[in-house]
């Protein structure tokens, strides 16, 4: 189902052809991060800390170095000390997270790496690296980290965003605050007030492909890196920083990427692989085990969130007070900033205070995860809103409609919304048959909504017209979920040639202009806009060549259906094929570049409807029906828009019901495997019904908003609200695992 405000009659945009890179991916030919083999390539292995917090007293690599097949061993001492160079604090954190210098800050923190001829030799050598630690007391949660006299991760960390600045260091990296109106007055006007406290655990992005990198360093300082990455330009920049070299000395080729969800926007292996390759004089491959992926790469934050909201009898929210603390892991940088901006952004609320804290603790450094920060805040806010709707006996969609942000609403985080489609997603749910489908025994229905900004940022594209009138579209945005198809569909629409005549290519850092990461739901929006711009330059060029051929003014030439036409029909049309064949006589090769920093972001909203069945004997919750309505702006590639919507929902269902990092009291992760970190499997789920809403983004040539992220914002609250509807318990802790549901049921009975 698509709700479209207008139908512009596109020929290619909005269709469902086969993706350009599909054949390689169903035949096993596509080369992912770990698939590359180079002549003479060595295998690397990383040595990791067994302690959550410890000072490195010494590292003895001599035994490892003397082992058979070992060609290189490196430690933090093999990298420049950025803190001594006056580097930016965030760069110092990137470097220290890549390989520890003085202290390890979490179990799994890298302390050394080895390279050897065989995988087995590398593993044996890694075990032979002898590290002496002085174990330090650790903190694992925001509660422990914010406690008085808590052990400090960073002895000089002074909380930012507090005026006057605190005199004493703490584990609180920063504070954020958004406020408007008068809270006391707002709560005074309320007819019902609900106050609840929520906790969530760190969860992992759970991409199926572990991190992998191959580096081939030359003796002149240059190096070529192949890696699984959401942004090879970003990898180049980070890796250059850690190595202390100019970015131009590194060439990075993006392998096909086996999932990322934000977790592959940061570096882990790349600088280690380069340094090992330099030391060994041979190419080096580093691939993580799943265990390492869990212990050392980006989960998103565990949180504690308090929400108090009031409504009047007519359903208007009069006030909202939100307090939240987000785990950052070992270094500053939790997504609490985005959480604070998104928490109540769906609604027009006159009085609010949103306060948040970025808190470091002895767990792996968090990385972006699909709408970073927003899902936990939405779990809390949307659960409280559900309870308020029940208290004043109003339909859960109607309470959201009564407060929904619309065009012109001053967003809680500052700017006024341009045209947005939140109301349309609410209406799409209400009009869908699932909304009135009959529920069985122990079944319940929950609604929740979510907001995400979507990102614009920088992209470049190059379009080449080949000599037979086909076109190659070159970008630098790794294709993580079908974006080559979106690029080809927009290029086909612009050039007026068949989709099959377009070859979309993801090029390396030396072959195309700069592209920011594939993240922030930005590729179809921003890289797509660059492709559209480049295609329009090509069309301008082609019109000029036709005008020259016909000896007329260029304004006498129109580009229609892939051919130049004279406005009066005075000349037989010239197809792209004709013009391409004659390009040598009309000005040379036909090619155009476009680069932009996209400001035309269109906010994304999703409303979701979840039906669950709760087994009162076991506490097991099963999702029996699910509907997601999301404003795509324009679905360039509806197949892959649905794929983003469905994928986001199912990650959210996992977050809601099963997934969590479990640490023992020493700070060692106890469930670093897919067996014990339980992500949803096919037999856990029903089909995920989609309602694509299309309220075009006025700032994009095709109305694109970006669809990758917002789908993961509502599910936890939708599931929690459905559980409440089914068995009358309000779940305030994630995951809502069987044991917790059972405990809540027993408390209710008691």
């Amino acid at each position: 189902m698509a709700i479209t405000e207008e139908n512009p009659g596109y020929k290619w945009v909005g269709t469902r052809p086969i993706r350009p890179d599909g054949l390689e991916k169903v035949t096993g030919k596509a080369r992912f991060g770990a698939d590359l083999v180079l002549p003479g390539m060595l295998y690397g292995k990383v040595v990791r800390s067994p302690h959550a917090h410890a000072r490195i007293v010494s590292i003895d690599t001599s035994a490892a170095e003397s082992m058979e097949g070992v060609k290189a061993v490196i430690t933090g001492a093999d990298f420049p000390d950025l803190s001594a160079n006056g580097a930016h604090p965030s760069d110092i954190d990137v470097a220290n997270n890549a390989i520890a210098r003085d202290k390890v800050l979490y179990e799994g923190h890298v302390v050394a790496a080895v390279a050897a001829i065989t995988r087995e030799q590398a593993e044996a050598a890694a075990k032979a690296v002898a590290v002496t630690y002085e174990v330090l007391p650790h903190v694992l949660t925001v509660d422990e980290a914010m406690a008085d006299n808590a052990p400090l991760l960073h002895e000089a960390m002074i909380t930012k965003g507090v005026d006057p600045a605190p005199e004493e260091p703490s584990n609180i990296a920063s504070k954020i605050l958004h406020e408007r109106g008068d809270l006391d007055q707002g709560f005074g006007e309320a007819d019902a007030v609900v106050e609840r406290e929520f906790t969530t655990k760190p969860v992992h992005q759970g991409y199926i492909e572990p991190h992998a990198a191959v580096a081939d360093a030359n003796s002149d300082g240059r190096a070529h890196i192949w890696c699984s990455s959401q942004g090879h330009f970003q990898m180049r920049a980070y890796t250059a920083t850690v190595l202390g070299v100019s970015p131009g000395t590194l060439k990075v080729t993006a392998a096909e990427i086996g999932g990322g969800f934000g977790g592959k926007t940061v570096i882990y292996l790349e600088p280690l692989a380069v340094r090992l390759s330099q030391r060994a004089g041979r190419p080096v491959k580093l691939v993580m085990d799943r265990d390492e992926v869990f212990r050392a790469t980006g989960p998103t934050s565990g949180t504690r969130i308090k929400v108090k909201m009031g409504v009047s009898k007519d359903g208007k929210i009069t006030a909202a007070e939100v307090w939240m603390a987000y785990e950052a892991g070992a270094y500053a940088g939790s997504p609490v900033g985005a959480a604070g901006m998104t928490a109540i952004a769906c609604y027009d609320i006159p009085n609010f205070v949103v306060e948040g804290y970025d808190v470091v603790c002895n767990k792996p450094r968090v990385a972006a995860y699909r709408a970073p920060g927003a899902p936990m805040a939405a779990f809390a806010v949307e659960s409280v809103l559900d309870e308020l709707a029940r208290n004043i006996e109003i339909d859960p969609i109607d309470i959201r409609l009564a407060n929904a942000a619309v065009e012109g609403t001053q967003a809680s985080y500052g700017p006024k919304f341009p045209r947005i489609g939140f109301v349309e997603t609410l209406e799409a749910i209400k009009e869908h048959p699932n909304y009135t489908a009959e529920l069985g025994p122990n079944q319940g229905r929950g609604v929740a909504a979510g907001f995400w900004f979507n990102a614009g940022m920088m992209s470049s594209a190059t379009v080449h017209v080949n000599e037979n009138g086909t076109a190659t579209v070159v970008t630098g945005s790794p294709d993580i979920g079908g974006s080559r198809q979106s690029m080809a569909l927009m290029a086909a629409e612009e050039l007026g040639i068949p989709y099959e005549s377009i070859k979309p290519v993801v090029a390396d850092t030396e072959t195309v202009g700069f592209n920011d990461v594939t993240g922030g739901s930005r590729v179809t929006l921003a890289t797509g806009a660059a492709v559209v711009d480049a295609c329009r330059l090509i069309v301008e060029d082609l019109r000029g060549r036709a005008a020259k051929t016909w000896d007329v003014e260029v304004d006498q030439v129109e580009w229609v259906d892939g051919q130049a036409q004279h406005v009066d029909g005075a000349q037989p049309p010239l197809s792209l094929n004709d013009l391409a064949a004659k390009s040598g006589r009309t000005g040379g090769p036909i090619s155009a570049n476009a680069s932009l920093n996209s400001r035309g972001v269109g906010a994304g909203f999703s409303t979701q409807l979840c039906d669950v069945e709760v087994d009162p004997e076991t506490g097991v919750t099963r999702v029996v029906r699910y509907l997601t309505a999301q404003d795509a702006g324009r679905a360039i590639s509806p197949d892959y828009v649905e794929g983003q919507m469905q994928g986001g929902v199912v990650q959210g269902i996992g977050w809601a019901l099963n997934e969590e990092y479990i640490h023992d009291t020493e700070g060692v992760m106890e469930n670093p495997s897919f067996l014990d970190y339980r992500m949803p499997v096919a037999s856990d789920l029903p089909m995920i019904d989609c309602a694509i809403v299309e309220v075009p983004n006025p700032a994009h040539p095709y109305g694109v908003r970006g669809v990758g992220e917002v789908g993961i914002v509502p599910p936890m609250a939708a599931v929690g609200n459905a559980i409440h509807d089914a068995v009358d318990v309000r779940m305030t802790e994630l995951p809502m695992s069987p044991i917790k549901v059972l405990e809540a049921l027993n408390e209710n009975d008691g």
């Binding site: 469902r16 086969i18 993706r19 890179d21 599909g22 054949l23 991916k25 169903v26 035949t27 096993g28 030919k29 596509a30 080369r31 992912f32 770990a34 698939d35 083999v37 995988r119 087995e120 992005q205 759970g206 991409y207 199926i208 492909e209 572990p210 096909e256 990427i257 086996g258 999932g259 990322g260 969800f261 691939v287 085990d289 799943r290 993580i480 979920g481 079908g482 197949d639 892959y640 649905e642 794929g643 469905q646 994928g647 929902v649 199912v650 990650q651 495997s673 897919f674 067996l675 992500m679 949803p680 499997v681 096919a682 037999s683 856990d684 789920l685 089909m687 995920i688």
Partner: protein, 158 residues
Amino acid sequence: MPRTHITTVINGDETEFLTEDSTSLLNALRDDVGLTGAKEGCGTGDCGACSILVDDRVNCACLMFAPEADGTVIVTVEGLADSGELHPLQQCFLEGAALQCGICTPGFLMAAKALLDKNPDPTETEIRYALAGNLCRCTGYDKIIRAVQEAAREMRGQ
């Protein structure tokens, strides 16, 4: 380290390779035979990205030692198409957009083939349970299940 000589039929071709006894079949296929279609997502048999057929049964290649492959007939994703003509599952995965990043796709195709070879008309629930050993983090499984249903219909000539 002593190495064992292994003789197998892989994707229709008699294939010999030398391997250490502790090497997984997955690493042997990827590193020694050069077939990288089977992927390692976990190395512990929990994700199914390395699913292959060994004597017509679906197996996680990461859970077998390479010497166990001696004398077996193996099919990997590289052997699923017939002389360049895609298997109906491959075609239906493409047409139904049943992949996003594509890393899990080889494993899903092999597990689905094993299912349809045994049960040409599975219910949705049977498909969901047959594929429960294969993790996909991108799609939410919806389009994968539909693609397998469609391929089953086509293979039954419907």
